[in-house]
Symmetry: C2
Subunit: 525 residues, 2 copies
């Protein structure tokens, strides 16, 4: 990663002792966006102490959060107690208990010699998200996008709740088969939602009894005709982003003109087109895109029904893009309201259209918390630089475009990054990093929030030091934070990161032999 803008200023608040009592449910509250001043630091990370949320959230947001929590508690999941406890050995935790205190409890139980990083998985989160979905978008059947977090426990719970699955590959299908068994209704509860499928994968889905897939180009239509002629196929639309300044689908989707070509070709080939799908892009920040896409879908439903094509579209898949956190803007309830209103107008219930969707992040994001240990450190890092060296480094930091730097053929940001590290007071090494869970910094533009938990005595207002957090691999790119304020921490102290359930472990590699593979299950009742 060569282009890093840097921002050395990050603030943190001192920790207080009554941190546990302030929040009703930390795990339900923590979210990426609650620190409004995002920096340009590529390795973005904000420091949160346990009581920060209550202190810093704006009043409205706080109230909204409290309303969400109050409502979510009414989504009872006690009927899943046996599944949680017998199948996964999950521990029952009081609904009001904060993530901070849950982390502390796990860490107290684990011997200090066991420094394996682990995820705490809140199984009831997936069930409550499902119930929340039904509450707000009852007409739309959710098909969990397995890619987001391909773990059997999520698949098991969503299957139990009645959900379907969006599988992008044969391997994802295999996970559902291994979890749900042969009696699962593959015909109606799986969609092979990849517009560009390899023939070998088509064969596997077909053998499993899957019936539904999507198409967005001519070659794919011919491929389906040859290798999966009985498939029920949705036209994957490219959201009409005229008027949108940040357009989405460069990779998948057919525009209106292409769709008409595909309708014509499908008619000739005899491929069964049964409806439309679209995907507004991951973490859609503009709910209008759903409305525009629904209007495009409506047009396509009408066009497909014309005599020259003669298709009777009966399925509409509105894809994903839903946030996993209710305090994101626009919030899920807000987006849901808009979608319902548009659906009632364009696709009224009386028409009998089957509505489906492909949420991934919505289910997975809030379900996992990463807990790591500080496995090594380098304190007084700065003391070993001579004053002269530090000055030299700081000058090249403040004047990054000077000729010396350019002559070195390193770009501004590389130097700045190095300067931040060289000038930091303490350096910590943890046992998960950029090649693991934190790949989301690079691939998903995720802003992680770090909490710390000292194993020894907690000071009240500990002195803060400019600190660096490195991941465990040999690579210096494996740096999670270049310059954040942290108190002096010890080897064995804990850092934890909430809301790491989406597009994290799913895209983690095993580089250097490090990968977080341990899952501790809880459920909240």
């Amino acid at each position: 990663m060569s282009h890093h803008d840097v921002n050395r200023k990050q603030t943190t608040k001192p920790e207080t002792s009554n941190s546990d009592s302030r929040k009703a449910d930390n795990n339900e509250l923590d979210n990426d966006d609650r620190h409004p001043s995002r920096t340009n630091l590529v390795h973005r990370l904000s420091v949160a102490l346990d009581d920060e949320l209550a202190n810093n959230l704006g009043h409205d947001q706080d109230q909204q959060a409290r309303r969400v929590i109050a409502r979510r508690k009414t989504f009872t999941v006690h009927h899943l107690k046996e599944l949680f406890e017998n199948e996964f050995g999950a521990r029952l935790v009081d609904y009001g208990k904060t993530t901070a205190s849950i982390v502390r409890q796990f860490c107290n139980e684990i011997p200090m010699t066991d420094d394996t990083p682990f995820y705490i998985v809140n199984l009831s989160h997936y069930a409550r998200q499902y119930l929340q979905w039904l509450h707000f978008l009852g007409r739309i059947h959710p098909f969990y996008a397995v890619k987001c977090n391909p773990n059997g426990f999520i698949v098991r719970i969503i299957a139990e709740m009645g959900g379907g699955f969006d599988c992008a590959s044969a391997e994802e299908l295999d996970l559902v088969r291994a979890t749900c068994g042969v009696d699962f209704d593959y015909a109606t509860r799986i969609i092979f939602a990849h517009p560009c499928k390899s023939v070998s994968h088509i064969k596997r889905f077909r053998e499993a009894g899957v019936q539904m897939t999507v198409v967005d180009n001519e070659d794919e239509l011919k491929k389906l005709k040859e290798h999966w002629p009985e498939a029920k196929v949705l036209l994957r639309l490219k959201p009409d982003d005229k008027g949108s300044l940040s357009p989405f689908s460069t990779k998948f989707g057919a525009n209106e003109l292409e769709c008409i070509t595909l309708l014509r070709m499908a008619r000739v080939l005899g491929v069964q087109l049964v409806g439309c799908s679209f995907h507004v892009g991951s973490r859609c920040l503009d709910a209008q895109i759903y409305m525009q896409s629904l209007r495009l879908a409506r047009r396509l439903f009408d066009i497909a029904g014309r005599d020259e094509f003669g298709f009777d579209f009966k399925v509409l898949d509105i894809g994903g893009g839903f946030s996993g956190h209710n305090w994101d803007k626009p919030s899920f309830p807000e987006v849901a309201k808009l979608i319902n209103k548009t659906l009632d107008k364009l696709f009224p219930e009386s028409e009998g259209i089957t509505l489906m969707s492909e949420p991934g992040r919505y289910f997975a994001s809030g379900g996992m918390t990463l807990v790591v240990r500080i496995i090594a450190r380098r304190i007084h890092n700065q003391d070993y630089k001579s004053q002269e060296e530090v000055i030299k480094l700081e000058r090249s930091y403040s004047l990054p475009t000077n000729s010396l730097v350019q002559a070195a053929n390193t770009d501004e940001s590389t130097v700045s990054e190095q300067v931040l590290i060289e000038c930091a007071e303490n350096i910590y090494y943890i046992n998960d990093g950029i090649y693991g869970t934190f790949n989301a910094i690079i691939f998903d533009h995720k802003v992680f929030t770090v909490h710390y938990l000292k194993i020894g005595e907690q000071e009240k207002n500990p002195k803060q030091y400019k600190s660096v957090i490195f991941g465990p691999t040999c690579d210096s790119v494996d740096c999670i934070a270049h310059s954040i304020d942290l108190p002096l921490l010890e080897i064995g102290d804990v850092l934890w990161f909430p809301d790491v359930g989406a597009y994290t472990s799913a895209c983690a590699s095993n580089f250097n032999g490090f990968k977080t593979k341990k899952y501790m299950f809880i459920w909240k009742g």
Copy 2:
């Protein structure tokens, strides 16, 4: 990935029919650097046709390449025939056969319905690299850096040749144990070369009988005292990069001042310091850094021997940083010559110092070729954009800083990337991508070279089209090339990429369920 500079100009030469006969050994010749005009495209990729090398290599380089090939052939590996063929089912291939023709042969044998991507592994490459190492750096014992490509077949061959292993984690140690068995000499042939070790990993190495490790900070020294008191420990130096404009070790290594503190502390704690190690950084482009580091090591050897410390240093580990290709500048023979000269001066053989090193890329890079199929495509992509739209897009491409773009809150490069894709004539989807082998574009700044192989008739001077190559996942970031010239290819046609053995599969994730896991073995005799 948000910061992409783009370069639309890439040229390619038409393929000719006698492409196989030009090169003695394509696999030995292909390398990242043979296209001197590297672009700033983050998703860098150059198109190479089978005969390009012979046409385009400068005369000197060509001669050097031929000399290398001639020499390497004399490194006989026939005594490993049984290992290659019986243990791995490797196929014997004539030394002069090009990679292009080997790829063609494999693809002809595999049924068209099997579109699984695979690596072709040249097992004899690892053995020949070992012999070449002995030839040029006979005094230095190589410990293969397992992280670079943690596959049993490499470990097996290097162990058979007499090499040791640099393991960074317990999982890498487990691989060596699974491959080499209990009778392997863990005390002398493994180094736990990670300066920041977790206690649980120390325990595993100790139990396995490993004896050697490295240290670069005070906390680590205390950790060793407590958890591995009998370890033989090397001081990991930070290469002295005064005078170097692109300094290396921000993450690991102790400078001279820190080393003196560590010597003092080790003496008090009774930790056995037995020598020094350093690492000049991966793919070291300046051989002078080795010389400077060796001088620093010599100083530390002398300092450690002073009465106040009383250590008798006997081990020097010169780390890695060696290129995997002899036509890189500086070439391995050149670097080796410089190292030998400096060693003879500073650490003459008569002193009886044990010399070791940690090459990874040197062994692994040239050993693997990736072969993928085009699994889907979108042709006439541009035809579906109205002329007006294309103009609009092209304008925003040529004037990327206009206000419209800024208002969209997308940076210049994001728009340009999208424009390149929207304006491309053909789009291909292959079954490996940025989350797989091509993660090296992001993490290792690797420039891949693509070759194509048409399954049908090969045209003589095929028309070239602006093309995009996407990986298989749902993510639009998963784009391997934004705008390269390729002829019209069909679904089922093959793309292959030589020299993908280092830091590729090692850092690949299984995102969307796609990961290249199939290995086809050959050896060249």
